[in-house]
């Protein structure tokens, strides 16, 4: 159990302007789950890319079974038995599960055609081992995210990997799915597979991890046994400072005027007879399970989808036929759940991304005043502490937390008075998370009405003035923040108590 199979010594990797990895060392034992913990930009991803042959380190050594290795390409690392499951899956959505598992390595008949029977059989064997009930003939696009992840896992196992790297595997999973995943990880451990596990979720690390190595600013801060480390210690190692725990919002700053009034909104089977309101200066959270209709509600309000019936008023004005443009004119802003898909033009500079939502209001004449645009970009870079030397940098070069801040800057530059935040801190490290929480609080204090969708209950409880709980397309309960517990919210969200 204790023999070291992978050792990384003094790895350094520099990118123009940033020292991404600075003398990082750590080791991995057979059959252990070794957690890599660190804020975004701490160097975790870079380290993983070095281990899988995507990047070449400037200096330092990698030993596998005591033998020094250099991985020229990802394929070399794969051959050596190191597989990685990225946050964004590398699956071909329109192929079947079995085809994906053996993509590029399909078993062939003697005539050179693909041996479909064997392909199915082998895939089924791996899926059985993972104890998951997925039809190997199903197309990947028809599966939920959790199952897609398991297909990725099956793919990694099909190449007999000794070392599995999992990047934020639980970020998009529900609690039950997480438990299944953890069971799978445990049975992998029993088979002697070692796992490098990257995550921000502190609670789960001690459940699944054996040892935890903390990275900060490209350096390894230390390695601890998961069994006997205090949570506060880990946090301190990660951020180098104490995080305050108490409720961020001490006073309810809600005002008389309404930012949002929704009456009897329905949309097919997704949304049924929904009536909610948000006052200016108020933080209202939509709680509920994934798929309960929270995002769908926000999209229907914003005019991304059409509602069947009901009325929506934004900042006091009726929006009979909603469109993003019309909502923006009424000072609404929408921070989507997926910033890469819906929030940012990744290959354009920070400067232009920030003005995208405000083109009509910031430049009413249609002529872009470059100096003004640059001034606005710099103003928000400083205000939101977006870490970048230059607002001309393309957004793609920023870390997740900083990208999220660019999206926020986009909506602040249009002087939004009603903002929807859909999972604003998903996949973001604790430090940036706290910053975003403070910003939401500050915005509310300044009189902005906020509707926040979040699956992170502690986050809901620290920020919300009021909570609507959704289940199966309905609002099942409205709760004030006082005296309410996570358990209570979960009970309503899952139908554990009668709404």
């Amino acid at each position: 159990m204790s023999d070291t199979i992978l050792e990384v010594r003094n790895i350094c990797k520099e990118f123009p302007g940033v020292k991404a990895l600075d003398n990082v060392s750590f080791d991995l034992r057979r059959g252990e789950v070794h957690v890599l913990l660190g804020e975004n930009g701490a160097g975790k991803s870079t380290l993983m890319k070095v281990l899988t042959g995507v990047y070449h380190p400037d200096s330092g050594e990698i030993y596998l079974h005591g033998k020094q290795m250099t991985f020229q390409t990802p394929r070399d690392a794969q051959k050596a038995g190191i597989a990685i499951i990225f946050q964004e899956f590398n699956l071909a959505p329109n192929l079947t599960v079995a085809q994906n598992i053996y993509l590029g390595r399909e078993p062939c008949t003697r005539a050179g055609f693909i041996d479909r029977a064997k392909l199915l059989q082998d895939s089924q064997r791996i899926l059985d081992f993972l104890k998951v009930d997925i039809d190997p003939n199903a197309k990947v696009e028809t599966l939920g995210i959790a199952h897609q992840q398991l297909v990725e896992l099956a793919k990694a196992l099909s190449i007999d990997s000794e070392i599995l790297i999992m990047d934020e595997p639980t970020a998009t999973l529900s609690d039950r799915e997480i438990n299944t995943l953890f069971d799978t990880i445990r049975s992998l451990q029993e088979r002697g597979v070692s796992i490098i596990y990257i995550s921000h979720r502190l609670q789960e690390l001690r459940v699944i991890g054996n040892r935890i190595t903390v990275l900060r600013d490209g350096q390894s801060v230390g390695t601890r046994n998961a069994g006997d480390v205090a949570m506060d210690d880990l946090i301190r190692m990660m951020v180098g400072r104490e995080l305050k725990k108490e409720r961020i919002r001490s006073v309810n700053t809600s005002r008389e005027e309404y930012a949002l009034e929704v009456e009897n909104l329905s949309q097919g089977k997704l949304l049924r007879d929904i009536s909610i309101y948000v006052r200016k200066g108020e933080v209202v959270c939509l709680a509920g399970l994934v798929g309960s209709g929270r995002t769908e509600l926000a999209q229907a309000i914003y005019g991304i989808t059409r509602r069947d019936s009901g009325s929506v008023r934004i900042c006091g004005r009726d929006i009979p036929r909603p469109l993003p443009t019309r909502c923006i004119r009424q000072k609404m802003g929408f921070m989507s759940e997926s910033r890469k898909e819906f929030g940012l033009a990744l290959n354009l500079p920070i400067r232009t991304n920030i003005t995208h939502a405000g083109l009509k209001t910031i430049f009413p004449s249609g002529i872009v005043d470059l100096r003004k645009e640059r001034r606005i970009a710099k103003e928000f870079r400083d205000k939101l502490r977006i870490v970048t030397p230059d607002v001309e940098r393309n957004v793609i070069n920023l870390s997740g937390g900083n990208q999220q801040k660019v999206v926020l800057a986009k909506w602040l530059s249009t002087d939004s008075e009603f903002l929807v935040f859909d999972e604003p801190t998903r996949g973001i490290d604790v430090g940036a998370k706290e910053e975003i929480h403070n910003m939401i609080h500050d915005l509310a204090t300044q009189g902005v009405g906020i509707l926040m969708i979040s699956s992170d209950l502690p986050e809901v409880l620290t920020l919300a003035d009021r909570i609507y709980v959704m289940r199966e397309g309905r609002i099942v309960k409205e709760l004030g923040y006082e005296g309410i517990t996570q358990e209570e919210v979960i009970a309503y969200a899952t139908g554990g108590v009668a709404g």
Partner: protein
Amino acid sequence: MQWIKKHLATLSRLSILLVMFLLLVIVSPSFGTMTNILNVLRVSSLTLMVATGIALCMLVGGIDLSVGATIALTSILFGSRFQLGHGIGDMVFGIAGILVVSALIGACNGFCVAWLRIPPFLATYGIQQIARGLAYVLTNGLVYSNFTSTFQFIGGGRILGIHTPIIFAALLLLIVGLMLNKTTLGRRIYAVGSNREAARYSGINVNATLMMAYILSGIIAGFAGIVYTSRLNCAEPTIGSEFAQEAIAAAAIGGISFKGGHGNVFGVVVGALILTLITNGMTLLSIDSNWQVGATGVIIILAVLIDRNTAKKKH
């Protein structure tokens, strides 16, 4: 330093052009003469104009194959319908007519792409066939020529010794460059091309932006058609058939991404000049014209490879 890094791709393209230029100056004595350089610019100016329009469609993630047919149809209409008399008024009316018709063709492209959601390649190919077909029907095989000398000046004259097409191309580039960098329309074009969904969530009217890109490409093609017809002093339904291909190649060599949202007009200039230098250079080196066609293909592929490898190094 930062500036160099940001513009590395453009600079590398520019250096390919400069190397080609210097090689030709050394190898061929007649290349460096003012006459030849002006000639190169004149030849490339039409490709350049059309490529600028296509680049707009490529920036929003599309393509415009209909430019050649637009040139043919508008030039036929000019010869057969718009310019019935020979006065200045007729000419002005004719030119205005061309611009309106070409804008309409662009609008048809935009409508098919934005509202009917037909893939741009197919939509503009279809419109191209329709426009070309109309040109044949309207002429019934006739060729129109003998335009007024005023009209011939537009494409065939010189101002201060510089050919008019060069001047028009330069003006067009200036306008389109300013539009892309200094107007909200330009911002919208890049935003839609870079991430259509994010643009929609930002309240940008995606369909209207697509529409504008195709209309502008149509108008620019119509404008190029005026210059071309004037220079040829002739209008016939078959002209301009190779324009789309050449212009797309110029834009692509110049770094306009097929995926949208990436590239600038300066790149298009470099791309168009590289393309013209290849042909011009081979002619000056008296390479057999039968071999020139294939050689052009080889050089284009080499240029793209060199360009991509230098651009990659910045990572």
